[in-house]
């Protein structure tokens, strides 16, 4: 049988195409295949300098990019799902969860806490797409709710960074009810006169968009992120037509009036800082800001400065 496997000729790559660069120093843009040095890649916040492609980044990296170094203090990291429906599909939901915890290093699909942007404090939650597609079950809903409550408690703005395919199927109706829980708290934040910011990243769909993802006082989005209610496949099956080009991309959504501003990654932090100032945040004085400390600071060291006026 060996002749089946034998190739007629071997393809030797000419030396010029062979990588002569040590591992880990270079990488290739997944969109345009441009070769970029690791250093440029990091400095450019994982956006391709040639084609502008925004590579997906995880929740912790997003937090590093957005908040002042060392200012992030995580809350509610230990919230985990109890598998309330005892759900079993091709395998038990508990095994799906274990696998996602192993792969992503997170306990569920969002990282929440308090941090500062240009010294101004805020309460933030950043969704982790690597954990079951950023899907929202009871844990994500509860953590978003608590993030909003921390905003109310400390009178600081709230930011939620979305990256999610929707509500988590394995928690059924309980996942759906998180839409109501989180939206009700956004109403309260608004009544308290505190700003609520949303950043939509690729992809932001369904359950989160039918709740906190669509309710920002200001909604920012990264370029080319897919944003919508129903997924493109579901729509194509319903209307039996091919969808128009650019459909549900952030630029399309901005054009239709549901996103305030599509911004390249580098402009997110300074823009958020400006918006916070427009809506009442005040930079802390030097004595108020804490010295840099490790990211996963213990809870009892939490010291939140209430500098949000009036």
């Amino acid at each position: 049988m060996t002749w089946f496997r034998k190739r007629k000729f071997t393809t030797l790559r000419p030396p010029s195409q062979r990588s002569r660069i040590p591992e880990g120093m270079w990488l290739k843009c997944s969109n345009c295949l441009e070769i970029i040095t690791n250093k440029d890649w990091e400095e450019n916040l994982k956006v391709c300098p040639r084609c502008g492609h925004h590579e997906r980044i995880g929740a912790r990296e997003r937090i590093r990019q957005l908040v002042d170094p060392g200012s992030f203090e995580e809350y509610d990291a230990g919230l985990v799902s109890t598998d309330p429906l005892q759900f079993v599909d091709l395998k038990p939901y508990r095994e799906h969860i274990e696998e996602s915890r192993r792969k992503s290093g997170e306990n569920d699909a969002i990282v929440c806490g308090m941090g500062r942007i240009e010294t101004m404090p805020l309460s933030l939650g950043v969704m982790e797409f690597a954990f079951r597609g950023g899907s929202m079950g009871s844990v994500v809903g509860e953590k978003v709710a608590r993030t909003l409550e921390r905003g109310l408690e400390h009178r600081v703005p709230v930011l939620i960074v979305c990256a999610s395919g929707g509500a988590r199927m394995q928690e059924g109706i309980l996942s759906l009810m998180q839409l109501a829980k989180t939206s009700a708290l956004i109403a309260r934040l608004g009544q308290a006169g505190l700003p609520y910011f949303v950043l939509l990243t690729h992809p932001s769909y369904a359950g989160i968009m039918a709740s906190f993802g669509s309710l920002g006082d200001v909604i920012l989005a990264e370029p080319e992120a897919l944003i919508g209610f129903a997924g493109p496949r579901v729509i194509e099956q319903t209307i039996k037509q091919i969808l128009p080009p650019g459909f549900q991309k952030s630029e399309f959504v901005q054009e239709h009036g549901f996103v305030d501003l599509v911004l390249p990654r580098k402009e997110l932090r300074p823009t958020l800082a400006r918006l916070m100032r427009f809506f009442g945040s005040e930079p802390a004085t030097a004595s108020e800001t804490r010295p840099a400390e490790t990211e996963r600071a213990s809870e009892n060291s939490a010291r939140i400065i209430e500098s949000f006026g009036p």
Partner: protein, 322 residues
Amino acid sequence: MALSAFDFEQPVIDLENELKALQELNPPPDNLAEQVSALRERIERTRREIYDNLSAWQILQIARHQARPRALDYVRRIFTDWTELHGDRAYGDDHACIAGFALLDEQPVCLIGQQKGLDVRDNAYRNYGMMHPEGYRKALRVMRLAEKFGRPVICLLDTAGAFPGVGAEERGQAEAIARNILEMSTLRTPVICIVIGEGGSGGALGIGVGNRVLMQQYAFYSLISPEGCASILWRDAKFAPEAARALKFTARDLKELGVIDEIIPEPEGGAHRDANMAARLVGQAIRGHLAQLRAMSIDEIVEDRFQKFRRIGQWEEIETAP
């Protein structure tokens, strides 16, 4: 009206045929009356046995039955002076959504409903009860009107889901639903929501944030259709009955999970067997809850609704390394 039977009712149909054959026997047997009443009893017993042990998949079939009473069937039977208001004052009028005011025992109430079609033509007009953004915005406009004049809001949920289409996306389907959910949580008037058939995910919840959420016995309320769920999680839609069981979407499940407040009983065999009786039972439930809510202050009503949804969800907290 011819009521198509469900597969799972076959044992009852067999017995009914047996009964018919017995009654047509010529000459009739001496103990005909005795035999007939025995058989009738057996039919009742069999029917009850079937309906007491319905699977989630069978309940879904009853909830989706073409002859099941629709929102307007309940509106006409329970309320008087129904006056429909059309349009969202921004884009258009969504026929999948009905909104307006009526009297319940001489008291004005606001009614919002998802209206499925009665036949093929009506379904085209009603878009199968699947709302567009303008439907949610119409509902919110009329609910705000109810708040302004201190009238309670009653919502009848019956939809496979919000419509997934290009226009719906372009006009902000997600935003419309999210906005309704947020605004409904703050409405300064009592809100009662009743799932009368299909409670299709966010599309249903878009008019579903109430002080009381009630469900008819054979209605279901789910994050996703079992067909959709099966095609994603089982990678094959034919596992829909399995997905139906796993999703725990029946009224009994939701009561246990603390999502709904009461199960409204239905006539035996489902609401479509006796719409008048079904409406009487729904009306009774509305009156009971409305009386309770009317005894509360507006601040209490708003707080009650907030706390109801704030509580929903299950999780545990584990130690994490600092």
